[in-house]
């Protein structure tokens, strides 16, 4: 308590003083860390426009000695990159649309509809969440092969259609909106599905956007499921194609501008999404934990 007399003076000075040394140090520290986090990506983009030799000799330089689009040309004109991109678009579109619909259906039922077994369904969902993907690699292949979906688009898409996290987000959201709106529509005699479709769902736009973002990111960046669900090159997605490109033949081992171009272009869609929905993504980023 004796120190208590000195400190109240310190509080106001902290608010008025603009150029405190501690503040300057903080900005320097933050800027250095930010540089550390961003610099690798600047190198990546710069290297795309370098020649193989330039990339090997000046790995740190952000300005190519001779600007060249050879790596990009090679990638676009003389590889299967277009095919991979198309496959990623197809799978991501179906998975995202499916997840938005099925997650909100299930989330609504678990939040609002009273039916016997609801708690059991919810408990089962929690159980499902605890099984890690790494454990599912072999089981997923086994089931797909047995029901004839191995190496098909259906086999790539269907298993990804429901994610427990998405159901949770929707359930929590529906629980947070007042019941009164639905009750009045119910009295008007609307069926449960109509009520869900034309009254509840439009109100859920913020949560739906969250699900869309998470599903898009998740399925665009997915690798392991496609590794165990397909084998033919025509079904390769960007992740699988680029992974095989990176690990591929010995002669390709040094073509870094080419590989980095492949890695850069596949990142553009998620970056565009990120900058459009930046604020929302960072508020829900918790849901998209990646390792």
């Amino acid at each position: 308590m004796s120190a208590g007399h000195a400190t109240p003076v310190r509080l106001p000075t902290q608010r008025v003083g603009r150029f405190e040394p501690s503040q300057v140090v903080l900005y320097i520290v933050l800027s250095l860390i930010a540089l550390l986090y961003i610099f690798p990506f600047l190198i990546q983009v710069a290297t795309v426009f370098k020649t193989d030799n330039d990339a090997a000799l000046h790995p740190l330089s952000l300005i190519p000695q001779n600007w060249t689009s050879a790596a990009l040309n090679q990638l676009v004109l003389h590889s299967d990159y277009g095919r991979w991109f198309l496959n990623s678009v197809i799978v991501t579109a179906f998975v995202t649309a499916g997840r938005v619909f099925f997650n909100s259906l299930a989330g609504y039922a678990l939040a609002r509809l009273h039916f016997r077994g609801r708690n059991a369904v919810f408990a089962a969902l929690i159980g499902v969440m605890s099984v890690p993907m790494a454990v599912l690699l072999i089981p997923r292949f086994l089931i797909l092969q047995n029901i004839g979906l191995y190496d098909t688009y259906a086999g790539m898409i269907l298993p990804l259609l429901v994610d427990a996290t998405g159901v949770f987000i929707m359930k929590n959201f529906f629980e947070s909106i007042p019941v009164s709106v639905e009750e009045s529509a119910r009295v008007d005699g609307a069926s449960t599905f109509r009520l869900f479709w034309s009254v509840v769902l439009p109100m859920a736009a913020p949560a739906l956007i969250t699900i869309t973002i998470l599903s898009f990111q998740g399925s665009w960046n997915e690798l392991s499921h496609f590794v165990v669900s397909t084998q033919s090159p025509r079904l390769a997605t960007l992740t699988k194609g680029v992974a095989q490109l990176a690990s591929g033949a010995v002669d390709a081992a040094k073509r870094y501008p080419f590989k980095l171009a492949a890695a850069t272009i596949m990142t553009i869609p998620v970056i565009v999404l990120f900058f459009i929905f930046q604020k929302r993504i960072m508020n829900v980023g918790a849901g998209a934990v990646k390792e």
Binding site: T47, A55, V135, E291
Partner: protein, 366 residues
Amino acid sequence: MKSASARSSSRTGGIRRGEVISGWLFTAPMLLIVGLFLVVPIGMALWVSVSDYSGRGSPFSGEFHFVGLTHYAEITSGGGLTERNFGIALRNSLWYTLLVVPTQTAISLMLAVLLNRQRLRGRGFFRTAFYFPSVTSSVAITVLWLFLFNATGAINAMLGWLHINGPNWFNNPQGLLHATLSGLGVNRAPNALARHTILGVSWWDWLAGPSWAMTALMLMAIFTTSGTFMLLFIAALQNLSPEVDEAAIVDGANGWQRFWQVTLPQVRPTIFTVVTLGVIGCWQVFDQVFTGTQGQPANTTLTPAYLAYNTAFGPNAQWGTAAAIGFVLFVIIILFNLGQRAMLTDRSDRAPRPHRVKVGTKGAAS
């Protein structure tokens, strides 16, 4: 039964009669997919792990036989290559988890605390910068990492400025602890450590530490996850009442003391979450190994998930063993989480309580 349903329908006034049907219809797609692609496959894999399934046809076709716990025995005893590979994969992931989880937790908490100042210009910019690596796919970032950490790459060029001869990261299987000991003149294993083995791996090799290649992958994990976890910590810090902190300022606590004795005890639940997610993630590493190293050099980046994949889809196609590795991995993840839960709750019961009470009364007094 009849009276119960009559009672419930009269209670809800008949409006909700269709709810039971709708409830099941609405959850049906989810249940179907979860059942078909999660529950059934896990059952199949359990059977495969105790049968001689060859990877061709249905495991239930009658062609294959029950072999008991043979496959589980193969990976935990017997002295074969399978056991040794499994031991090595466990060693790699143990080091990976033990080093990555505390580091990523500490760094993400530090970033969150730095950004959680009352007056901070450019907060949005910094937050975006730190989160950015978390957005990109593990495949794309692995390709970048292979370039940055190659023998003559950007990292070694920067180490060169400091007159340090960087290692040939992704081709160097030497463990960091072995490297340190070798720097101190210890190049060979003491007899006691070389003679005894666990899971076919000598004690000396268990203690090797992560290889340079694995270290590069660990740095990547920290780089790509710290932003996500930072967001969790920022959310937690924003929920704290500023009065407690202000009371501590009034009491003359400096920033360092306030962090350890005021902030840290309050964000303990978030630390628990981050550590749990971190542990689960660390034991599952697959993409980076598939894309970048395929377990090399000298199996030092082999992880249980990649080993399971390679055991089934590799040239030997040992499906039973692969399935068994998957289930053992599941058990390990559960055990790790239980252990960590015991550790973190134990401490919160003892140490922080006096602080919380003390701070609370001061906050109320001011």
